[in-house]
């Protein structure tokens, strides 16, 4: 039994880390799509898209790995979340497809360019909202019978998940706008400075609602936060501190700090959520150990990861090195 415990925790760490990486990396490029319709002009939109074009699709390979890794390490999550979020998953995928191809076609298009702009904007927003709703649904928990989801098709869509959905849209937009502050200059950067505090206010509103609501869904969570004032209170405190740093940096018109601090908000909120729910991975009934795949399978894949991932990182960094210094938003000059 002891061995099983170890591997499952290792896998929870890998998946948890992977998810965080995905949120941070895909977050700011989804944010470009959310901000797209509000951008000052068409030239700004070209720059916004160019600033993330070289990186976005690598991020989506990680999403596929996340899906496959979840099936391998925690099959119960895969087989409960996906049926429960059936319609939401479809919206997520449709959104990702529309925004993905927009990257390719918008620059090739001449007469149909505005269509691909809309495809990018709507696709990104829908995909972000769906991801936020998934977080909300996870907090709410799932109705299960045995190891099978037994709720209805739209159980995931409640006022609370709509709020978390909108919250993630605001959050990704914040990552997007602070990314623009860091990566651009002139008119576009001014605009990004201007909208950042508004997006931050939107995100903090949702943050507050989630903080108040989450303990009341689940008795264990309530006990954890209120019965003994423990070290975990430091996590929301740090998230709020990061929000303050964003605001101060925007006021001082610093370039890099708003983006870093925005990532900090995400990181500490995420850790806070994990601290609330641990070790429940399919709330309210199943822990990571209930959801785990067999020891043999976890081991088989972990060995592969240990051998293959260093090789993957080696050749991936080699290709980055080949293209060093050439990733620019503009053209040849």
């Amino acid at each position: 039994m002891e061995q099983h415990f170890d591997l499952t925790v290792i896998w929870a760490g890998i998946i948890g880390f992977g998810l965080m990486m995905y949120v941070l990396m895909d977050g700011f490029d989804l944010g470009q799509g959310i901000l797209f319709p509000f951008a000052p002009n068409e030239k700004a939109r070209d720059t916004m898209m160019n600033s993330v074009a070289p990186v976005w699709d690598g991020n989506e390979t990680w999403l596929v790995l996340g899906g496959a890794g979840l099936l391998a390490a925690f099959p119960l999550v895969y087989s409960v979340f996906l049926p429960a979020l059936y319609i939401g998953v479809f919206l997520l995928l449709a959104g990702l497809i529309f925004r993905g191809v927009a990257f390719e076609f918008r620059f090739k298009a001449k007469t149909s360019k505005h269509l691909w702009s809309w495809s990018f904007a709507v696709g990104s927003t829908v995909a972000s909202f769906a991801q936020g709703a998934v977080v909300g649904a996870y907090i709410q928990g799932f109705e299960t019978q045995g190891f099978v989801y037994s709720g209805g098709p739209l159980d995931w869509l409640t006022p609370f998940t709509v709020v978390t959905g909108l919250g993630l849209v605001a959050g990704y937009a914040l990552l997007g706008s602070t990314w623009l502050i860091m990566k651009t200059e002139g008119e576009l950067q001014d605009w990004a400075y201007k909208i950042t505090p508004k997006l931050l206010a939107g995100l903090l509103t949702v943050f507050t609602i989630v903080c108040i609501y989450t303990p009341f869904v689940d008795e264990t969570v309530k006990m954890r936060w209120f019965n003994n004032i423990s070290i975990i209170w430091v996590l929301p405190a740090l998230a709020l501190f990061c929000a303050y740093v964003v605001l101060r940096a925007v006021k001082k018109r610093q370039d890099g700090m708003p983006f870093v601090a925005s990532m900090g908000i995400f990181l500490f909120s995420y850790l806070g959520l994990l601290a609330s729910k641990w070790p429940y991975i399919v709330p309210p009934n199943f822990t990571i150990w209930d959801a785990a795949s067999s020891h043999n399978s976890q081991l088989f894949l972990l060995l592969g990861f240990l051998f293959v991932i260093p090789i993957v990182l080696a050749y991936t960094s080699w290709t980055y090195w080949v293209f060093r210094g050439k990733v620019k938003a503009g053209g040849y000059h």
Partner: protein, 465 residues
């Protein structure tokens, strides 16, 4: 009429998987073709090979891009519509799919960047190496996927405990008895696809009198490959069929439209199988030939569908006709290969308008043949999801309603229709641009967006080029 989530999910899966399959089957073969062109260029220094490589890399980039996008949908289909199946097989399927991502997808993605954009940044040998790595990645990917599929066809190495499979032996589970045949059959199909598309497109260019020297060379190479591959595929297909006869007799019975187990069974050229009446109408047959093909003995015994109750029989009509379409197209490919050989003397193969026009049409044939082949093997497994162990009904997501399945089915059809018609339209623009456009120097005002598949292609999606 009640909406049946089972039927709708099967239609949905068939739709998304067929749509997806078109793209990798082409890119697997094309990646090797490109690696071949690059090798020839490296060895001979003849710039014609580079010209060809540059053009086909652009085609590859677009097809690969569409394949990746449609592949993301696939990785979620198992969970959304077949959650019981996913849960039961997760101990096997999860690691296999994860291995596919880490051993193949990352390899393809990383080296594709170098292949598309690194020609002037790395030494020629390294660029060739990148081409070979991309081709290798596509094969590793098909290894894992076909291994997973073969386990569903001929399961072994697993143990079922409390509704969940546990892997008893990874070697047995990864290399099931049908795996080798399936892999060889599919790999050859990919090469055939590439050969026929290259032949068809080159023929089209030759008919238009464009870049004659390069396109003649490409056509010549493609025809040599066709001559070797098409007959070999028939032999491999025969072995695969014998393997199926041994492990999945009902699939073979449906392929042959044979209802009663008997000896000296005729080969049906035409028939309308009727599952309800448990018989065929309008049979046109060649005596004893099915027995000979399947057992290599004129009086060999061939299993009949009536060996199992009607609810365990596959959809006979679909399997029967898909099989005939596949074999018919395969024979047509062999015919074209021989025709091409006969036209070899004095280079008539690039002069005969009739032959070139025929090749143009034949460039669609491998896609139809591959899809038909997959329908044979997948529908022929029905009602089993895992042969003899789990039915489609048992693997379905329990909470799925007909309305939900219909909603997403229509949704995927609409999304694919919009997005992929744009992709295919764009591919046609790349074809129209031809070798000439692909070999132009990059324009000065072109915005640099490295490491993106479609950015390798230079055509405009709409308006003037």
């Amino acid at each position: 009429m009640d909406l049946d989530p089972l039927i709708l999910s099967r239609i949905q899966f068939a739709f998304v998987v067929c749509f997806h399959a078109i793209f990798p089957v082409f890119t697997i073969g094309l990646a090797s073709t490109i690696a071949g062109f690059e090798t020839l260029h490296f060895k001979t220094g003849n710039p014609i090979w580079q010209k060809l490589s540059k053009f086909w890399i652009q085609v590859f980039a677009v097809v690969f891009g569409i394949g990746v996008v449609s592949g993301i949908v696939m990785s979620f289909q198992f969970g959304t519509n077949w959650s019981n199946f996913s849960y039961a097989t997760a101990n096997f399927l999860g690691p296999v799919l994860s291995y596919e991502v880490i051993t193949a997808f990352f390899l393809e993605a990383a080296f594709l960047g170098v292949l598309l954009f690194g020609r002037d940044k790395v030494p020629q040998g390294v660029h060739l190496f990148a081409a070979i790595m991309v081709a290798t990645g596509t094969f590793i990917s098909s290894f894992w996927i076909l291994s997973a599929n073969s386990l569903m066809q001929t399961p072994q190495g697993l143990e079922l405990i409390d509704g969940m499979y546990y892997v008893r032996s990874w070697t047995e589970a990864l290399f099931t008895p049908s795996f080798g045949y399936r892999f060889a059959h599919m790999a050859l199909a990919s090469f055939l696809t590439a050969a026929l598309v290259v032949a068809g497109v080159s023929a089209w260019f030759i008919l238009q009198k464009r870049e004659l020297e390069a396109n003649r060379k490409a056509l010549s190479v493609a025809l040599w490959f066709l001559l070797v591959l098409a007959p070999t595929q028939a032999v491999i297909g025969d072995f695969h069929g014998l393997n199926t006869l041994q492990h999945q007799p009902m699939k073979v019975a449906a392929m042959e439209g044979n209802w009663e187990t008997s000896t000296g069974v005729p080969l049906l050229l035409f028939a309308i199988p009727d599952k309800e009446a448990q018989t065929n109408h309008f049979e046109v047959k060649i005596p004893k030939l099915a027995s000979y093909v399947l057992t290599h003995d004129w009086d060999g015994e061939v299993p009949g569908l009536k060996d199992v109750p009607i609810e365990e029989q596959p959809p006979v009509f679909i399997v029967f006709w898909s099989f005939r379409i596949m074999v018919g197209l395969g024979l047509l490919m062999i015919a074209f290969a021989i025709w091409g050989l006969l036209l070899r003397p004095k280079g008539r193969y690039y002069q005969s308008t009739r032959f070139l026009n025929g090749l143009r049409l034949m460039s669609l044939s491998p896609f139809i043949a591959v899809l038909a082949g997959w329908v044979v093997t997948e529908a022929g497994r029905a009602p089993w999801l895992i042969y003899g162990q789990m039915t489609h009904a048992q693997g379905l997501t329990p909470s799925l309603t007909g309305g939900m399945a219909l909603f997403t089915l229509i949704g995927y059809i609409v999304v694919y229709a919009l997005v992929f018609s744009a992709g295919v339209y764009y591919l046609l623009q790349v074809f129209k641009g031809g070798l000439e456009k692909a070999n132009e120097a990059p324009e000065m005002e072109e915005i640099e967006r490295p490491k993106r598949p479609f950015s390798a292609a230079r055509a405009a999606i709409d308006g003037e080029q």
